[in-house]
């Protein structure tokens, strides 16, 4: 079991030793390992995204009394490959009236924060690319830059539908960042740190979802909105504004937006697992396997919600963020703080 647990770590050690054996200076070795880490994270993201597209269709299918994809490969497992190949073969159409530079840039820019988020996620015991002392802050800060790409895409397409969509996207993502950040405050107060590894370590005996159920629910709702997933998929709003900011995108450029959405789904679920479900901790199984299992449980929750609820209206959306989630998360912070002080005063 120990070897399965440390398979990635020993691989890392072996790589370092191998590089040192070539007589490389330490800074070069560090540089090389960083590149390997980056590739590993990218592989993890892409593998998950491809699988998630398949999983979402299957989950949706079974929730809707359908079978979902079942033609390409056993159980339709290669459907995503077929779709990706199809998208690669499509013409890359850029509207004549679009701002070509911005239009192209936006589709690439959307993917950068989506992958950058994984730098601070602890995938398992000691398996974290960069254990920053402001890990959580980094996550929120980088995550919020995705708004810029969406706005860019919507604005540069020079289409009224995409303009409406990107206006919605900006309003929604900025509004929901606030309850999202506040919901995490309770966890930070309990853990006493912004460092991901310490937050995980603080949940050794008790997961924070037990101590912070309100924060978890607030986080879950705000994260759904941040992800632009149903019932908060207003920026896309297929029934009203067709696909919002993405309406003019085609082929692989559209696929990049699509994939970024699923990459964000993984990262937001990974953060939820790290903050509320004890991260990679769990008995018997290797830590990284526990992490993946928990992340997929969270992803299933997100999918369940999406395939059950109709879309919320734009003014209700704002009302929910400012009039309900924000006060609730503030009260949660207050109660958590009071409880911590009380416990300290009583000497527990």
């Amino acid at each position: 079991m120990a070897s399965v647990e440390t398979v990635f770590l020993s691989g890392d050690q072996w790589l370092k030793n191998w590089l040192f054996s070539w007589g490389m200076p330490e800074s070069w070795v560090f540089l090389c390992t960083v590149v390997v880490y980056a590739v590993a994270v990218l592989l993890f993201v892409f593998a998950n995204v491809i699988f998630l597209v398949y999983l979402e269709r299957k989950v949706a299918g079974y929730m809707q009394q359908r079978l979902g994809p079942n033609r390409v490969g056993p159980g339709g497992i290669f459907q995503c490959v077929a779709d990706a190949l199809k998208l690669l073969g499509k013409e890359d159409i850029i509207p004549a009236s679009a701002d070509r530079g911005l239009f192209r840039l936006a589709s690439l820019l959307i993917f950068i924060p989506a992958t950058m988020l994984f730098v601070v996620i602890p995938f398992g015991r000691e398996m974290i690319v960069a254990d920053l002392n402001v890990g959580l802050l980094y996550f929120i800060a980088v995550g919020s830059t995705a708004t810029i790409a969406v706005l860019m895409g919507g604005w540069s397409a020079n289409n009224k539908y995409s303009l409406l969509g990107s206006m919605r996207a900006v309003a929604q993502m900025i509004s929901y960042e606030i309850p999202l950040a506040f919901s995490l405050l309770g966890v930070i107060m309990l853990a006493g740190s912004l460092r991901m590894s310490e937050i995980v370590a603080a949940q050794k005996d008790l997961w924070f979802v037990v101590l912070q159920p309100v924060a978890f629910i607030t986080y879950f709702i705000a994260a759904t909105a941040e992800l632009n997933r149903g019932p908060f998929d207003l920026p896309e709003g297929e029934q009203e504004i067709i696909a919002g900011p993405f309406v003019e995108y085609s082929g692989m450029r559209y696929a990049l937006f699509f994939l970024a959405e699923y990459a964000n789904l993984v990262s937001v679920s990974a953060l939820a697992v790290t903050l509320f479900f004890g991260g990679w901790q769990g008995p018997w199984l290797p830590s990284w396997l526990w992490f993946v299992i928990k992340v997929y449980f969270m992803i299933f929750l997100f999918m369940w919600v999406k395939w059950t609820f109709p879309r919320i209206r734009v003014d209700h959306l704002m009302g929910l963020a400012w009039k309900f989630l924000l006060p609730v998360s503030l009260v949660n912070v207050f109660v958590t703080g009071t409880a911590i002080k009380l416990f300290q005063a009583m000497g527990w």
Partner: protein
Amino acid sequence: MPESTKELYTEEITLNMGPQHPSTHGVYRGILTMDGEYVVGVENVIGYLHRGLEKIAENRTYTQFIPYTDRLDYLSAMLNNLGYVQAVEKLMGIEVPERAEYLRIIMAELQRMASHMVFVASFALDLSGWTGWMYPFRDRERILDLFEMASGSRLTTSYLRIGGVAEDVPEEFWPALKALLADLPRCFEEYDGLITGNEIFQARTKGIGILDVATALAYGVTGPNLRAAGLAFDLRKARPYGIYSRFDFEIPTGQNGDSFDRFVVRIQEMRQSLRIIEQAVREIPAGPVRAKLPKVLRPPKGEVYHQIEGSKGILGFYLVSDGSTRPYRLHIRGPSFVNLGAFPLMVKGGTIQDLVSTLASIDIVLGEVDR
């Protein structure tokens, strides 16, 4: 630009919605004037599906036109058949055999349910309730299977004939119908549980797209849309045609005339249709299904107007005969066309999301709007 207008200012935008748009239910086109997310005005643009059915009728014999009626409101072919053949029968004074009358009732009410199921499904979908789309379609599928048994086709059935129906239904029709009737109450419960009871659904439909009785009557709005406003007017009760007077059923009505009421009224109507079918299945007599008629129909000179309660409202056929084998003139009163007229009034001031849900709640079928 003069100095004074260089400051920030806002203006309304014109947004072209349709004819290619996911939620215009076909090729409806609306020219929206928008103030941000809010709709200031709507202009209906129709005609993208115009096929000139009324003119075609003048070049077809009375029987030949039946398949064309399928293509009016393509979600309720049986009801369109019924309205047309009854108009011709009225013109010629034809008596229809009992068994055919009962079969017509069963088919018409099944079709009403099938049409309302599409309404429930597409309403849910227009609110992005994807799962709500699949459940009614699962049940509609079984109704279409029944149509296939009876007529050989699922959507454009052309099952009714002048003086009866095309053929008696096959034997396997009855057990399948009875199994469906037994399952349907549970299916309606599922729609209620998945869609009607949903908090977001209610927040998005209650108080939206209000149409009161006076305005509805002024615009000629009929059918479930009128009943949702609170007026219990149903041709099946008010001016019974066929053998509807023999059946016991209620007219569900709403109170507020909003999108939610229009939705609930249709769910209730499906339950009432179920009651009618159950009674018809119990009472249906044996016997012939078509009246003895000459091969070539030559109605006497004259004109006739016949209207039935379609799935969307009053479906009327105005026939003028010059004594030949072909109608001199046919006019069709399509309820979707009339109901759509009130649409710009209902959505003014709401958001674009309300506009989409209100359009879904009116339940238009463009085949009937454009004819």
